[in-house]
């Protein structure tokens, strides 16, 4: 868990006429899942790779927990930062266990501690240690390989995780599973995560905050919901599909829109978990014969969800304050 701060960071590649990144200032708070979103060539990967000094800025300062990273030895810095890339890059001559052990070994951990850490991480990413420890990367699937890549990055329990389109090369079904895993793991570990993607759905799904990049500048930096509600300009609105109301609904939990439980209600109403999103709620409302759903939390009814409430929610000028 660490804070990352970019101060007036610029990057101009040699022989380039325009800056890859122009005067970026950005603060990533500890424990936040921040996604850098934008089309290829917008500078998002460059921005991320500056954090572990795989790319050096042309000017400006980057602080990690208040310390200028230029003053830290680059390899030492990288050992404290988890790094996951799209092509995974597992070492093909090492077993799954040896791959995960790489950074702890570099840090000189005692053997027993490394071994127990390997088992712990394999359990975390839901690969059976007994079955996967001794396998080579060529003997596991793409999805499993990326899980191992994630475990390898987490091995020395870094405060910061850098993830460069980690699920970009994985089929849609496995990708969704891995995204859910990612959310689960983040809920457990509270890492500061910087995650690069060009996939809008993925960004909206995973991020606490999204920084939208366009031609080397950050156009807007906010929570997914605020971005959809108040896009800074046409570019952001179009990139996110802000006019797609159903997409917006998928970002809001049912609990935020629920109406109080009336004294008497029909106990046979379809129920929905308060942690589900409004898109699911809308779907169930349309599917059910009633115009209301019973919202439950820990199997206890806590309120009602109606079409009218969803409609009202989408018109914040009327209803905004009441449901914040």
């Amino acid at each position: 868990m660490s804070t990352i701060e970019f101060q007036n960071v610029r990057k101009i590649y040699p022989k380039a006429t325009t800056a890859a990144l122009a005067d970026i200032s950005l603060t990533i708070n500890r424990g936040e899942f921040v996604i850098l979103l934008g089309p290829s060539g917008c500078g998002k990967t460059t921005l991320m790779k500056m954090i572990n000094r795989l790319i050096e800025p042309s000017s400006g300062t980057i602080l990690l927990d208040g310390v200028d990273i230029q003053t830290v030895n680059a390899t030492k810095l990288r050992q404290q930062i988890g790094y996951v890339i799209q092509q995974v890059g597992l070492f093909p001559h090492m077993t799954v266990a040896e791959n995960i052990a790489v950074v702890p070994k570099l840090l000189g951990w005692p053997k027993a501690k490394i071994q127990s850490r390997i088992d712990e991480l394999l359990s975390l990413i839901q690969l059976d240690p007994a079955q996967f420890r001794q396998r080579y990367p060529a003997q596991i699937s793409g999805g499993q390989a990326q899980r191992v890549g994630l475990a390898r990055a987490l091995a020395a329990d870094p405060g910061v995780m850098l993830m460069d389109e980690p699920f970009g090369a994985i089929d849609a079904i496995t990708r969704t599973i891995l995204q859910d895993e990612m959310l689960r793991i983040q809920q457990q570990l509270h890492k500061t995560i910087v995650f690069v993607t060009h996939d809008v759905e993925e960004a909206l799904r995973l991020a606490d905050k999204i920084a939208i990049l366009h031609e080397g500048t950050i156009v807007q930096y906010d929570t997914p919901l605020n971005l959809l509600r108040n896009p800074a300009n046409q570019y952001v609105a179009e990139l996110l599909g802000a006019d797609d109301l159903v997409r917006r609904l998928s970002l809001i939990q049912v609990r935020h829109v629920l109406q109080p439980l009336p004294k008497s209600y029909d106990a046979n109403l379809t129920t929905i978990e308060s942690s589900h999103n409004l898109r699911d709620g809308l779907n169930q409302l349309l599917a059910s014969s009633s115009d209301q759903l019973l919202v439950v939390e820990h199997n206890q009814p806590i309120g009602m969800l109606s079409l009218a409430a969803i409609h009202a929610y989408l018109h914040p000028e009327v209803i905004h304050e009441r449901h914040r």
Partner: protein
């Protein structure tokens, strides 16, 4: 057919002399190969790391490789005289192109993502070389070593004509004295040496290839 049998007979009856020739042959070949490897490794890594040097060095080595080995030997006699040095320098020059090319191909066969991961995880240049690049490039490098070894044995045979010994001496003396059994003895022993050497290196290669 009789000549071949005579060749084997010669190998048996003259075994003391044969062992000595074999020793000379192996010494020269091994020395050449060793020095060649010691030069090829840094040169190969230089070619891999410094792009613009790659073209120049590979072109130079390829040109040297096209010079017939006999011509090379005779040219080098002018510099080093009728000595083992002449032969060893010839071996080093010929092995160079094979070794360097295989080092370069071996290094380039490594997935770039693997190298990026190694760097991103915090390995320094030495750790990347020792733990990642070397083990992954080793099979192809060793394949180069195997070919170079066979070539060294072959060129060492020709080198006998400048009087440095080795099994090739049997061939040249056989021709001079018109002794078919000596020529066969030379042929058989050189072939056997090459085969054994090839087999041993292939075994080493197999042992050191990552079990994937």
């Amino acid at each position: 057919m009789n000549d071949i049998v005579d060749g084997f007979n010669y190998l048996v009856t003259e075994r003391t002399a044969i062992w000595q020739l074999l020793g000379q042959h192996v010494t020269i070949s091994l020395l050449g190969l060793l020095i060649a490897s010691m030069i090829a490794l840094p040169l190969g890594l230089l070619v891999v790391r410094v792009r613009w040097l790659a073209g120049i060095i590979m072109a130079l080595l390829s040109i040297l490789y096209t010079v017939p080995s006999l011509a090379m030997l005779i040219m080098l006699i002018a510099v080093f005289g009728l000595s083992k040095t002449t032969v060893i320098v010839t071996l080093v020059i010929y092995a160079q192109v094979i070794l360097v090319r295989n080092i370069v191909v071996g290094m380039q066969s490594i997935d770039r993502a693997v190298l990026e991961a190694a760097r991103g995880l915090g390995m320094n240049a030495w750790q990347i070389w020792w733990r990642v690049e070397l083990p992954l490039a080793l099979p192809i490098m060793l394949a180069g070593l195997r070919i170079a070894a066979i070539m060294c044995i072959a060129i060492s045979s020709i080198a006998a004509m400048i009087g440095v010994g080795g099994l090739g001496q049997l061939l040249f003396q056989g021709i001079t004295f018109d002794r078919a059994d000596m020529i066969w003895a030379g042929t058989i022993s050189i072939a056997a040496l090459a085969l054994v050497c090839y087999g041993l290196l292939a075994l080493l290669e197999q042992r050191l290839t990552p079990k994937i």
